[in-house]
Symmetry: D2
Subunit: 369 residues, 4 copies
């Protein structure tokens, strides 16, 4: 609440110390640090250069191999603010983002966990993910779901290194300490469906195979592959209309069976910014991790300018003002994950437009290179 510091009488100090020994605490002394007037986030805005990440991801291919027990070959983003607090594997307090590498011929063995996962494909071809018996081939720009507690393994039938972004709600579940994990007894879970089964069933988007009403096809979302081809088409058509003032041409991947987010806890968005587009600033309780699929520009976050180009990743913390600018001559595409579904399910989301539309840039962020 109020930010001012209290000083306590010696008598009260003594009382505080006395009750503390009984694992009791004085609300009046600590409430201001916990029930704050506005979100007192400790995640900081940050940006990672793709050149930095990519080099190390490729190098990890020489040093480690995917193993039983979940040890995928992934390098993940650590939010400096949260790292300083000892919060592990966290891009924000709820979201994890990593870059996974799979080499030709490798297998990342089958397992399942209560954490949900999304994939956004960065480089390579002919690798696949198998989710509960559905083998899904991954192509650049595809968006792929691994719903919570579904068996999944990855394999690679191609000849070049394959890289993709993993997005999970690991930090959220670690905040709550509610993880469950189970390795599959064999490397590969049996394949039950034709390749890309669910994408074939839902190719029309707003049309559902009638068997789905009878529970056929069976994942929480029924649909686990959203191809870049259809994403591109969706963005192109949307771009014939006026852009959203704060979000540009922005689409949310949804679950066709209930209209909610594709993953029940992780929101996933794709945004297109036309050349020269400068969106208005806003802020919201939900936080996000962005990946620059294509293009060049910058994002102003709480007055600090974060320049980005294709491949870069950056974080927008909770309740941070942010606006995007495309400075390039071509479209910019931003893929992002967020915790909006969690905030909405728990009744915690809020959104606010910037009072003057745009922020003043008071700092320029210098990324590590």
């Amino acid at each position: 609440m109020g930010a001012e510091e209290h000083t306590w009488s010696p008598e009260l100090e003594a009382f505080h110390e006395e009750i503390e020994r009984y694992y009791l605490g004085p609300l009046w002394a600590v409430i201001q640090g916990v029930i704050t007037k506005e979100p007192a986030t400790d995640a900081v805005p940050y940006l990672w250069k793709w050149s930095v990440i990519r080099e190390r991801v490729l190098r990890s291919g020489e040093l480690v191999t995917p193993e039983r027990g979940g040890e995928r070959r992934v390098i993940y983003l650590e939010n400096p603010g949260l790292k300083a607090k000892g919060i592990p594997m966290a891009a924000t307090r709820t979201l994890y983002a990593g870059i996974q590498l799979l080499l030709p011929g490798e297998v990342a063995p089958s397992h399942r966990h209560i954490q949900g996962a999304i994939r956004f494909i960065l480089e390579g071809e002919k690798a696949y993910t198998t989710v509960e018996g559905e083998k899904v081939y991954m192509e650049k720009g595809d968006f792929i779901l691994t719903p919570p507690w579904t068996w999944h393994d990855h394999g690679h039938e191609g000849t070049e290194p394959m890289m993709w972004m993993d997005g999970l709600d690991v930090p959220l579940l670690d905040r709550l300490k509610v993880s469950f994990f189970e390795p599959y007894p064999e490397d590969r879970h049996p394949v039950k469906y034709p390749p890309n089964y669910s994408a074939l069933r839902y190719a029309g988007g707003m049309m559902r195979p009638v068997g789905a009403r009878r529970g056929e096809g069976g994942y929480p979302s029924s649909l686990i592959l959203y191809t870049w081809e259809q994403t591109q088409r969706a963005l192109d058509r949307l771009s014939e209309l006026e852009a959203d003032p704060c979000d540009g041409y922005a689409l949310e991947y949804i679950n066709p069976n209930n209209g909610e987010s594709a993953d029940a806890r992780i929101g996933s968005w794709i945004q297109k910014l036309a050349p020269g587009m400068h969106t208005q600033a806003h802020r919201h309780v939900s936080s996000a991790v962005y990946h620059v699929k294509e293009g060049r520009g910058y994002t102003v976050i709480n007055g600090e300018r974060f320049d980005w180009e294709a491949g870069d990743f950056f974080v927008v913390p909770p309740w941070a003002w942010h606006e995007h600018v495309n400075t390039g001559e071509t479209e910019a595409y931003l893929f992002s994950i967020n915790d909006r579904p969690v905030m909405e399910k728990l009744g915690l989301e809020r959104e606010e437009a910037h009072p003057t539309g745009w922020q003043d840039v008071v700092r320029v962020f210098e990324p590590l290179r």
Copy 2:
């Protein structure tokens, strides 16, 4: 309940007559006709030839004009069983289907009604429907929604007669006597959006423009145009998989915002039957009106064979066994509307597979020509 006829003692007959004068009725005497063991539908299976309909629809173009007050130029299907009972405008007890004609330059003036409407486009081009300010151009095979109580008018900028199928829940609302209707003070409702606005916003199908969460775009379903192009693609991809035993390659048009049927009360399906395909028989409480978009074949309904070809319409009544056969050398496409959303919302839907898989054909229906 039991089908047997009761005879009553003279004393009881007299009692029945006595209470009837007080607008009281003896349950024991009538219950068997009303609380029946199975649906005692009075709608009959029936088929209308497109050649018969088309000729008369075109002829109506010479005789009547669209007018204020809802008098569209439409010829509708009358179920002979329901017509015999004096139930008006009914293909089944819940569904209305008509064929509307709009001539070049004509306008069907704006109005709104609590009855929902879907359109499936049969012939022509460059006509449009305007729904609450969104102008939607109609092309063959497109599926278009007019949600309940939305202002809508039709216009025609082309040079050839335009024909489409109208599907409404007029009979359902007439069973309940709950109609509301209002003419717009002018012929045309103002256009507020770019042409095909919602189709541009939802072109990706399982991707939603983020503004829709904030209520932008505004219809009950947000999306009112489902183009044949995307329907065709959805069916093609679905056809790479195994067909549904009873329904072939069948898709339901859905509302991307909640995963429910596109219109909240009228279900709409498109089915593709590969050459030679013969589906298994089943029956369900929900009833349907079919339109043969393309192809040639027959449907067996309660043991009677209904041969069909492109353009024909036919009715599958509630709880009637039915199976479809494509006898042609090309794909057959069946569009249909049904009352399944109503039955499901009211907890009344049931479905049953035929005990032997297929019916014996005991009759062949002779359509009027």
Copy 3:
């Protein structure tokens, strides 16, 4: 739509006749009678005197016995407007209301049907209803549910005639022709639970036995007995507050598991009118059948005054203005059933306050005696 009569040219008349032979109809000629500006209900307001009903119900005890096959000993209310149209067993187009008599020692054999049923107990004691193995004893003023497709039988362990009101959605399901009925192979379904099981589990109202989350207790609503004792208490406490202008002190029986109406399709209300209370007039699409539990007064329906006293039944048709007056010196209690849940689920409900607050009384209804 417009009420004006059309006249058609001889040529058009001939065309109408010609297409009619093909079971085709001209929309322009019939639309005004079907898509009406406002609900064109054919149910009429009506009132039945309890003295008339009771005498005949008791007389039926001498003439008929409950039998296998659903033939309960019930005398039901026939809306004169609907009777004139040949619509059977209908108080309104959706609602059935009857008065059932069970004599000491009798059994009304077990059966189930897709129609939902509610009971409101009028006279007698020590009779019971068994619903899916739960035996519920009936006392005056109790409200009891028989959810759709649950086995139920009635028995009588007392010494005096037992009478109760039955409310079912028979006419709604008959409009749709979707009935299912099944007799149980024996007279009585086995009892699985202690007497009044669900009422013991839910005695706190806004408190749920935790096992219910795991599906224990099993009906659609989990709760099937709402005692008059708790109803009375609820009304008494509510009466310490201001009354609702149109409904007085009015409570809806709800399903504690989802906050919806106790029966999923039949709404049930209890209303208390303080002495002298005169509610404001309103109208709504949903219709209702009222039973006067206690008191004396009148209801004005579409300008006609219907005087009532304890035991009487009356009907408020769809979209009819209505207001209630308690002319007695004690509280009046009105129990009623309505089709509001159906109208709401189908998106058809509307409500309107009377422009001047109260109607002019232009007629007085003379009930048959």
Copy 4:
């Protein structure tokens, strides 16, 4: 995942250190500590004696006064396991529990916060809580809601100290860093309704005032006072049936408008254990804070015996085995709060029965006195 320790080659160690400088992390090195096979909770089972708490709460009445800014006079429970990790104000990682003291004539000024709060009244009378203009008098055993973001203040018109338990989801919101707080400009929010308004409206429990459908009465749950009188009655009636094997006679406070938990994020339960009752052990992801309203007994948590008597508080952490025993000669009543609604909304709840029914007691907890 696997618990075994990895050792890394010097080369890999160097790589880990190198990428760490770029705020990148190696998944393979940390995943086992975060994606665990089962919840790796750091909250410990613990018990606080009422005598210890009460003495200090009363003493705090001499030392501090309620102030503007949220500084209620509350002593809260600190889970030793979480305190060791620097997690403030946490009984579990999601739940806060405190004991609030209000002295005669005092006012705890009005404010609102996004954290939800429940109160369970421990001692005293004639104090009240005002929630959005509804003044609710507090009596022993009452359960009172302060839904998120509703203005609330407390006052005291009596003569004795008033004490109650506060339950909030402060730690959950602190995990997510999403707090909002606002002081009201004046001490007291204006009263808009008669005292105990919502309890009068919902006195029937499974009956809803019909105006609530039109949004009248207005809180998220409409109902904010659940009196001990009705709780007692509910438990008494429930006790005529068989107890739940793991939970005894257990009731959840629910929101009558949707059948969900009374507070949308905090579950609240009351349990009665008959003399001698020994429940079976189970465990679940959701955690709980218990308060012993009456009685004497013990709870075995993960093999450790926690003896309790009236007034004590104890914690059952996530995924901890627990079983309850009433060793007294009278009924025991346990009130508790839990995070089950959060776990269920996020799809994270699981429950497991103990393989042998009961745990072996391997330790006895010695509470601080």
